[in-house]
């Protein structure tokens, strides 16, 4: 646990680019990736590492049903009646169909970024139900798998209103900040090194990274935030707490970068 001493307090200062509008930031990053990854269309960035490796792409296709059990478990939780007779399904428009592609959202009353996981827990709380542990694959992971399946193929459509630009900017800064004992930034691998191989596996590009969560690894759903926490451990940094503002802002930034790309629910991951 050597990395504990290299926690948030040692964050390198963010890469000093000026505070740009989210749309300009996205354009710049898409343009940079296109320059680096010329042979791969932007639409395929949604495949993550598999966009750069035909064997991985085949493996994902061969395991297309990997998320079925998690989706079924999530559906059961989604429709289970609360003590007051309502259900998670009743908290969301259209019973939750298609909503996953629009999260995270900025809540102007709460002045905070609401991820889909947070929205689910808000619903549970408002009905006096125990909230889910955001790291628990059996509850939150399963519900995410189900909700994402209801938006499969929808284009990611996350909005960043003017009032939320500082949250987006905080996410962007974190993405570009070198952290931990290994001194990596998220951008070191997923922008600077996108498409190159770390070990045997190509590094997924920043654009498209948020389209395919949860992934199904060893039959369990792994959410984007859970994966970011794993990455932080690899970086030798103390991971931000689950559902923390830091992770929420990172997810907000990353998901906005994936706007207009198709959401791919519950892909298998064997790496």
């Amino acid at each position: 646990m050597r990395f504990r001493s290299f926690s948030i307090a040692t964050l390198a200062l963010a890469v000093t680019t000026s505070f740009a509008a989210p749309s300009a930031t996205r354009e710049e990053i898409v343009g940079r990736l296109q320059g680096q990854l010329g042979g791969v269309p932007v639409s395929e960035y949604a495949l993550g590492a598999a966009a750069f490796d035909t064997d991985l792409r085949d493996q994902v296709q061969q395991n297309a049903g990997a998320g079925d059990a998690a989706v079924a478990a999530g559906k059961a939780l989604w429709t289970t009646r609360f003590k007051d007779g309502r259900s998670l399904s009743g908290c969301f428009p259209n019973g939750g169909k298609r909503i996953a592609a629009t999260y995270p959202q900025y809540d102007s009353k709460l002045k905070r970024v609401i991820t889909l996981e947070l929205a689910v827990n808000q619903c549970l709380k408002s009905h006096n139900e125990a909230v889910y542990d955001p790291t628990d694959p059996a509850t939150m992971g399963a519900v995410m798998a189900y909700l994402r399946s209801l938006a499969d193929g929808r284009k990611v459509a996350v909005r960043v209103p003017a009032a939320a630009e500082d949250k987006f900017e905080q996410g962007r800064r974190l993405y570009f900040s070198r952290m931990g004992q290994r001194n990596y930034a998220c951008a070191s691998c997923h922008l600077q090194g996108a498409g190159k191989r770390y070990g045997e596996v190509p590094l997924s590009p920043a654009v498209g990274q948020a389209t395919h969560w949860p992934v199904i690894r060893a039959d369990k759903p792994v959410t984007l935030q859970a994966r970011i926490r794993e990455c932080l451990e690899i970086m030798g940094a103390a991971p931000f707490p689950a559902a923390s503002e830091e992770l929420n802002h990172l997810e907000y930034f990353l998901t906005y970068l994936s706007n207009d790309l198709p959401l791919k629910s519950n892909p298998w991951r064997g790496w």
């Binding site: 050597r2 290994r182 001194n183 191989r197 070990g199 045997e200 590094l203 030798g236």
Partner: protein, 115 residues
């Protein structure tokens, strides 16, 4: 230290000999272990000098290039590559105490002896 002092010239001589170049040492744990250098995650090494991978986040390493850099420069790069290149992805293994001095020495010798 005395032992190292005597061994280093010998290692250098061996590293420069064509015969040695054809029979490289196995990659040390400090080069391959995920909780050590984990260099193998980013760099490829010549056949026979370590595990074969397709890693290419960092440049492929070969003995000619390593010996042209020399041990002092190799040690500096491993200690803190951001001094020469602030944009590099490579971790500062010495500055951030990922590796101890003796481990960096082992790494330098391995790289210097690559075919």
């Amino acid at each position: 230290m005395i032992r190292c002092t005597f061994l280093l010239p010998l290692a250098a001589a061996l590293a420069l000999s064509p015969a040695f170049a054809q029979s490289p040492k196995a990659a040390p744990e400090v080069f391959t272990a995920p909780d050590k250098g984990n260099c193998i995650a980013c760099h490829q090494v010549p056949e026979g000098a370590g595990p074969r991978t397709r890693a290419d986040l960092g440049p492929a390493l070969d003995g000619t290039r390593m010996r042209s850099l020399g041990r002092t420069r190799l040690r500096e790069i491993i200690e803190d590559p951001t001094r020469a290149n602030p944009e590099t992805v490579m971790p500062p293994f010495g500055r951030h105490r990922i590796l101890a001095k003796a481990e960096i020495d082992r790494l330098v010798e391995y790289l210097h002896a690559l075919p």
